[in-house]
């Protein structure tokens, strides 16, 4: 498998072609947060409902490259129904997989490290398909966009980990 095929694994292309949880939710009760990647024009709009410490429902809209859109779709499938604590742990693991420094995980900076991520790959399930992105540093921002939007939405929902 060359780097390009590693980047565009079948799972990623599948989520790009048929994104899960597309749509909108009524605001309120949902929280609406949008994020942009000014470099590429990637755009993610997230609708999130947190209830009793659970991600009860979420929907996504927006447009962008296969990496940003499939990452959002994979994320939505992975976090739906999970507790906020589990979701925050997943965010952490995902960003670690993207080789983002511990210190930068909660901030804006997204400096890739020289070594591949050390996140809990087992726990990542299908999300591990996004590993190939690490070899393309400019695309890491595409992969993490929806995750940053998710964190912002959780914060706005006042949902502590």
């Amino acid at each position: 498998m060359n780097d390009i095929e590693d980047l565009y694994r079948e799972i990623i292309l599948d989520h790009y072609r048929s994104p899960r949880n597309r749509g909108e939710l009524e605001v309120p009760p949902a929280i609406r947060v949008e994020g942009f990647n000014p470099l590429c024009g990637d755009e993610i709009v997230l609708y999130l409902i947190v209830e009793d410490g659970l991600v009860k429902d979420l929907k996504l809209s927006g447009q962008g490259c296969s990496i940003s859109q499939s990452s959002a779709s994979l994320m939505s499938a992975a976090v739906k129904g999970k507790t906020v604590g589990e979701v925050r742990k997943l965010v952490h693991d995902f960003k670690a997989m993207m080789s983002i420094h511990e210190a930068a995980i909660d901030g804006q900076a997204q400096a890739p490290t020289d070594f591949p991520g050390t996140g809990d790959l087992e726990a990542m399930g299908e999300l591990a398909a996004l590993q190939g992105v690490v070899k393309f540093p400019v695309r890491i921002k595409c992969a993490t966009l929806s995750w940053n939007v998710l964190v912002q939405a959780l914060d706005e929902a006042g949902a502590p980990g």
Partner: protein, 453 residues
């Protein structure tokens, strides 16, 4: 930096700094030697051999560089001219009385004269201002001329196809001065400006500022018509030549503009230097852009007297080595012939449009004029979208094939919104690109389609 410095990079070291070493008659080597009239059509394959970067490979494949609209590559002669300048000649300009400082002065002046000749300036020693890039040249006009002459409610006319460099500086004046902007719309069925709206948008306008070639669509607006009407309406006319000046003959008199901005790095020259051409009478009335050394006649603790033009606008140590590189780049371009470059561009664009449309049919969308009749109204810039493959993914897959294209909004976000897309993939050609490069592009696009569908 000699008049002979292009295109086959000359070996003779001694010949590299002739102007600086000879008598007064050699002061403006390029201007006196004049452009060598080229006799035959441009041979892109031979041209490419002058560009060391094009000899390298990427991912084990021959590099196919299709991003000259963002920045061109440069020939050995330009690199050597700058190298030689630093090794033998460098000193600060304007102030030295010793030999190498005078040589540096003469080269800097020769670059000015040469840039002026390239665009048809009647008096380059007054009218050519060196800046950092085209963006700074536009900002200079807006900050100096605009700041002095524009007031709340004044109307500036732009178009919907402008680069941010010809948009954001004006938006700053909207915020700071309360000027008003009007836009000449683009017709999305032809990707050309809707000239029928010209009189309406120009009514009462103080400025018209328009690109000479869109960096997204390739569209070349009918600038002479636009400038003529703008002048009738009493507006000052500014031309953004960042894309056009590198690719075709330019004559500011014939165009009928009052200011023209362009960048060296898109025309085989170095980064870090750009050019503003302005009509002498207008420049004379303009206040300095930035303050500092080099731009004054006198300074006291209470005030200053600005220098004559063009130095009034060149505060601080200018990009001297870059001017030497620009001088060499212009000599190279003139050796190839601007008309020959333009004809080559048109041939290659025609070949590329034909190849892409034939190969991808209804699954490709080209954002720009595509019919044969419009070839003289479009440059060698092809923005496209392929069904099912996002531009960024396209660029990524093409990189694997060593084909360098750009994906994104190309610093023209309002135009992207009009086109209804977040990004396009853009291939652009220059004097060193060949039909083989176009074939490599088509083949790499095939690869992307195979991967994504």
């Amino acid at each position: 930096m000699s008049a002979q410095g292009a295109p086959a990079a000359q070996e003779d070291k001694a010949a590299q700094i002739p102007a600086a070493q000879e008598d007064k008659a050699a002061e403006i080597p390029a201007a006196q030697a004049g452009p060598v009239p080229p006799a035959k059509p441009l041979d892109a394959r031979a041209v490419a051999r002058d560009f060391p970067l094009l000899a390298r490979s990427v991912h084990g494949k021959r590099i196919v560089y299709l991003d000259s609209a963002a920045s061109s590559q440069r020939p050995c002669s330009v690199i050597d001219a700058m190298d030689s300048y630093y090794r033998t000649t460098h000193a600060n300009v304007h102030r030295g009385v010793y030999e190498i400082a005078e040589e540096a002065d003469r080269l800097y002046d020769a670059a000015r004269v040469s840039a002026g000749r390239l665009v048809g300036s009647p008096s380059p020693r007054s009218e050519i201002v060196f800046t950092k890039n085209a963006t700074e040249a536009m900002n200079l006009v807006v900050r100096s001329w605009g700041w002095k002459n524009l007031h709340a409610g004044d109307v500036v006319v732009l178009t919907e196809i402008e680069h941010h460099a010809n948009l954001v500086p004006w938006l700053q004046l909207v915020e700071e001065r309360g000027i008003r902007l009007r836009y000449l719309p683009v017709d999305l069925s032809t990707y050309e400006l809707d000239i029928s709206r010209l009189d309406e948008v120009l009514d009462g306008a103080k400025v018209l500022s328009c690109t000479l070639m869109s960096n997204v669509l390739g569209t070349i607006p009918p600038f002479q018509v636009i400038a003529g009407r703008a002048h009738e309406a009493g507006a000052v006319v500014i031309a953004d030549g960042a894309q056009s000046v590198p690719h075709m003959p330019t004559d500011v008199q014939a165009l009928g503009c009052d200011f023209l901005a362009f960048s060296a790095h898109k025309m085989l020259g170095p980064t870090g230097i750009g050019v503003l051409w302005g009509r002498e009478a207008l420049l004379e009335e303009m206040p300095p852009f930035m303050g500092g050394g080099g731009m004054i006649l006198d300074v006291t603790l209470d005030g200053f007297v600005p220098a004559e033009i063009p130095r009034r606008f060149e505060a601080g140590t200018p990009p001297i080595a870059e001017a030497v590189g620009l001088l060499s780049a212009i000599e190279y371009l003139e050796r190839l012939g601007m008309s020959e470059i333009w004809e080559h561009d048109q041939r290659l664009t025609s070949y590329a449009l034909g190849t892409l449309q034939e190969r991808f049919g209804d699954t490709i969308r080209i954002f720009g004029p595509t019919d044969e009749q419009s070839l003289d109204r479009r440059g060698a810039v092809i923005s496209l979208a392929l069904d099912g493959v996002h531009p960024h993914d396209l660029a990524q897959v093409l990189d694997q094939e060593a084909v360098c294209i750009r994906a994104g909004h190309h610093c023209a976000k309002p135009l992207m919104r009009r086109l209804g897309v977040g990004a396009t993939a853009r291939a652009s050609f220059y004097c060193y690109n060949t039909e083989e490069d176009v074939d490599a592009l088509a083949k790499a696009l095939d690869e992307a389609v195979r991967l994504f569908r």
